[in-house]
């Protein structure tokens, strides 16, 4: 998928967990990992022993990955975003923590800030694809990608990345509001059908199967619904410039990132 991945890590990260992540990333095409740890000003661990980081590095190297360790300081999200750019990473990988008591996947403020600030794509790993346990590691052939678009400027940016993914199935979902009269609605339908067909053709060489659908409704709700319906592993989205009063990464992306069970690949 992407050559170099930056993984932000914090103290307490377990080697067996990072190994599982490494397996997935390797299977999806990554061969170089940058482990990045930020110590906040005034932190108890600032400048202390980093042997735990070396253990993580070794765990990943066992998988045949090329691993480097980098350190940063001060504002965590800004440091990660800067480092990713500086190290020439193709993506930033984040694993969300499961909160069983409310049965959903919540993002912390650092992840939220990172999604807002990053100038390179962020891969937010949620429930799907599952980390390898008893079952086999997911491969590219198994990968189901949901590409959510409204054909706006932000949603066309992910297309080169979609070509990089090269999964088993790419489903293009266009969500919109209904036009205000039947005639305009008919014209819009025809226009979108042509556009969707063109994007399908563009992506067909990179996937075993490419399909598309066009729905009317609330973008975030529809994306979440379809993603569960097709058991998508990754939802590919473009990050919009936030409007005044809206969520930092755009309301739709915000809701999808927070509530989705599929992983999110957010393209800035």
């Amino acid at each position: 998928m992407f050559e170099k991945t930056l993984i932000p890590v914090s103290y307490g990260e377990r080697p067996e967990e990072i190994k599982k992540i490494g397996k997935i990333l390797k299977n999806l095409g990554s061969n170089s990992i940058c482990l990045f740890h930020v110590t906040e000003a005034g932190s108890f661990f600032r400048g202390s022993d980093i042997s735990w980081l070396m253990i993580l590095k070794e765990a990943l190297e066992e998988l045949g990955l090329d691993v480097e360790v980098k350190m940063g300081a001060d504002h965590i999200a800004s440091s990660i975003a800067e480092a990713a750019l500086h190290e020439g990473a193709d993506e930033i990988y984040m694993k969300t923590k499961r909160r069983w008591q409310i049965g959903t996947m919540l993002l912390g403020s650092i992840s939220r800030d990172l999604l807002r600030l990053s100038d390179i794509p962020v891969f937010v790993h949620k429930v799907r694809p599952r980390l390898p346990g008893d079952e086999a590691v997911i491969t590219r052939e198994d990968l189901i990608i949901l590409y959510a678009t409204d054909f706006g400027e932000a949603s066309t940016r992910p297309i080169p990345y979609l070509m990089e993914f090269q999964g088993g199935w790419c489903h293009i979902l266009h969500v919109r509001g209904r036009m205000a009269d039947p005639f305009a609605e008919e014209i819009e339908k025809r226009r979108l059908h042509e556009k969707l067909t063109a994007v399908e053709e563009e992506l067909r060489p990179y996937y075993g199967r490419v399909t598309s659908e066009e729905v009317i409704g609330d973008p975030s709700s529809e994306v979440l619904r379809v993603s569960d319906q097709i058991s998508a592993d990754v939802i590919v989205l473009g990050r919009k410039k936030p409007a005044f009063f809206s969520a930092p990464m755009g309301e739709t992306a915000e809701r999808i990132v927070t509530s989705s069970r599929a992983s999110i690949f957010l393209v800035p």
């Binding site: 509001g177 209904r178 205000a180």
Partner: protein, 500 residues
């Protein structure tokens, strides 16, 4: 064949069925109707009176926002279209819509009632109560009712003239319902519009009949029995039914114009023969007070003292305007084709409002002058019989007999023209938006309007009329909130439409 007819005419059958059921219950068991409608009415007031205030204020902000935004330049019609009527002709017709029975009925009574029975934090019959009374009259009859009408008329005008859809409330719901506007959800919206129109218009007709009756009783000593009021409704019904069936639209238009001329002459007569400087001072100071306090007035329900008062007056008015809005909205929309949204909104909000302010300053101001400066006990009369106050007021002027007769004539003509227009609008709403309405529908709606007014008068008089207006308006208020959303969706697609 019957199934096809039922499908095609489902709005008509459903709405007329509901109204017929209401009439039947009112005739067979008036006590049951009274107790049920009282419970519904009490429930709405207990839990949702605040919603009426917030909605009306929101409608005002919304229409002003749209008028002053980039969407203000959008035409209610195709881009090359020109207004169908001249500016002055259009304004005259706006007056016709805005000047109705209510203005004559409440012109003298309402300021006097507020003056006599203000909220508990004011002393009855005090100068403060007088100032409060005038300010609230301006508020109840001012910019808010027109904002309420504008929501409906702007939506209908936009979706039918610019988007080429039928002139129905359900057409405005296309952005949220899609093809379902042709199914049950869309039909339900139209039924709610019919329901609100019937009760809103019946309320006005009831007021009109009560006042015509009071006038005849006062002038000629006619019996004050309710049967006479019913007789007046029956005669007026015969008149407007004849007009609606014969399709004497030209005649109705001429009558409306004559009515406005007579009303204006009456206004000038009272202004010149009363204390003109006093009236003009009342107009000026009340206008200042109104402008200065419009936000406070809009959202003030006096929860600590005067809550009952606010519910009895402001909430009733807002509900009444909402229940009138499908009817007035359709009328205003029809005459405004070819105008820009900005021109439409700003004119509709300002011109009739200003005329109404002058009307109330002249009639209400003169009544307060007679009460406070001349010692005429008008407020007590208004307190005892709302419909009588106007005639006692006219007695203080020369040729009072003639003036009273003119007022009764005005009321009758307003009654006929309003009921006639309402019959046509109801027919159109239940005929898929078509202006060619079958005769039997006109007859059914005409009779329904009058019968509902009679049933309401028999079950509880003025209180029942007010109660039903509030109840019928509630579901339509929700419809209007959604209309704002759908209109916004439609307008926000305009830029893309032009590009495409």
């Amino acid at each position: 064949m019957w199934i096809d007819y039922m499908k095609r005419e489902s709005v008509f059958l459903l709405s007329s069925g509901i109204i017929l059921f209401f009439i039947a219950v009112g005739i067979i068991t008036p006590d049951l109707l009274e107790s049920v409608s009282q419970s519904i009415h009490a429930g709405i007031l207990d839990y949702f009176s605040w919603l009426y205030l917030i909605s009306a204020f929101f409608f005002l902000i919304f229409v002003l926002g749209i008028a002053l935004s980039q969407y203000g330049t959008i035409k209610l019609g195709y881009d090359a279209e020109r207004p169908q009527y001249s500016f002055f002709g259009w304004i005259a017709m706006l007056f016709a819509a805005g000047m109705g029975i209510g203005l004559i009925f409440w012109g003298v009574s309402e300021p006097l009632l507020h003056f006599l029975m203000p909220p508990p934090f004011l002393t009855s019959s005090s100068p403060e109560a007088a100032s409060f009374a005038m300010r609230y009259v301006f508020f109840h009859w001012g910019i808010h009712p027109w904002a309420i009408y504008t929501i409906v008329s702007l939506s209908i005008a936009y979706f039918s003239f610019r988007r080429g859809m039928p002139a129905l409330i359900s057409s405005c719901f296309y952005p949220v319902l899609g093809e379902r506007i042709y199914g049950m959800p869309g039909k339900l919206v139209d039924v709610l519009a019919v329901f609100a129109t019937v009760f809103g218009t019946a309320t006005s007709l009831g007021f009109g009949a009560l006042q015509i009756h009071a006038g005849f009783t006062h002038l000629y000593g006619l019996s004050s029995a309710i049967s006479v009021t019913i007789g007046i409704i029956v005669i007026a019904t015969a008149l407007f039914m004849a007009s609606a069936i014969l399709g004497v639209e030209k005649g109705v238009q001429i009558l409306s114009k004559i009515n406005i001329i007579i009303a204006t002459i009456l206004l000038l007569f009272i202004l010149s023969l009363g204390s003109t400087p006093y009236i003009l001072n009342i107009f000026t100071s009340t206008l200042g007070g109104y402008i200065n306090n419009v936000i406070d007035l809009s959202l003030q329900s006096y929860p600590f003292a005067g809550y009952e008062w606010s519910r009895d007056w402001t909430v009733f008015y807002w509900a009444w305007w909402i229940s009138w809005s499908p009817f007035v909205g359709l009328f205003i929309a029809r005459i405004s084709r070819g105008r820009t949204i900005r021109e439409f909104v700003l004119t509709v909000l300002s011109v009739p409002t200003l005329f109404t302010f002058i009307w109330f300053s002249v009639f209400g101001g003169s009544a307060l002058y007679l009460e406070l400066e001349q010692g005429v006990d008008l407020a007590r009369v208004a307190g005892e019989d709302v419909s009588l106050a106007l005639f006692v007021f006219l007695e203080q002027y020369p040729v009072s007999g003639l003036l009273s007769l003119i007022v009764i004539l005005l009321l009758i003509v307003f009654f006929v023209t309003s009921a006639d227009s309402a019959t046509v609008v109801l027919g159109s709403l239940t005929s898929g938006g078509s202006m060619i309405v079958p005769m039997y529908k006109k007859v059914i709606w005409g009779l329904s309007l009058s019968t509902v007014a009679i049933v309401l008068l028999l079950t509880g008089g003025l209180d029942a009329l007010q109660m039903m207006a509030i109840t019928a308006a509630f579901p339509f208020m929700i419809v209007m909130i959604i209309l704002c959303y759908t209109l916004w969706i439609g307008l926000s697609q305009e830029k893309d439409r032009v590009e495409k």
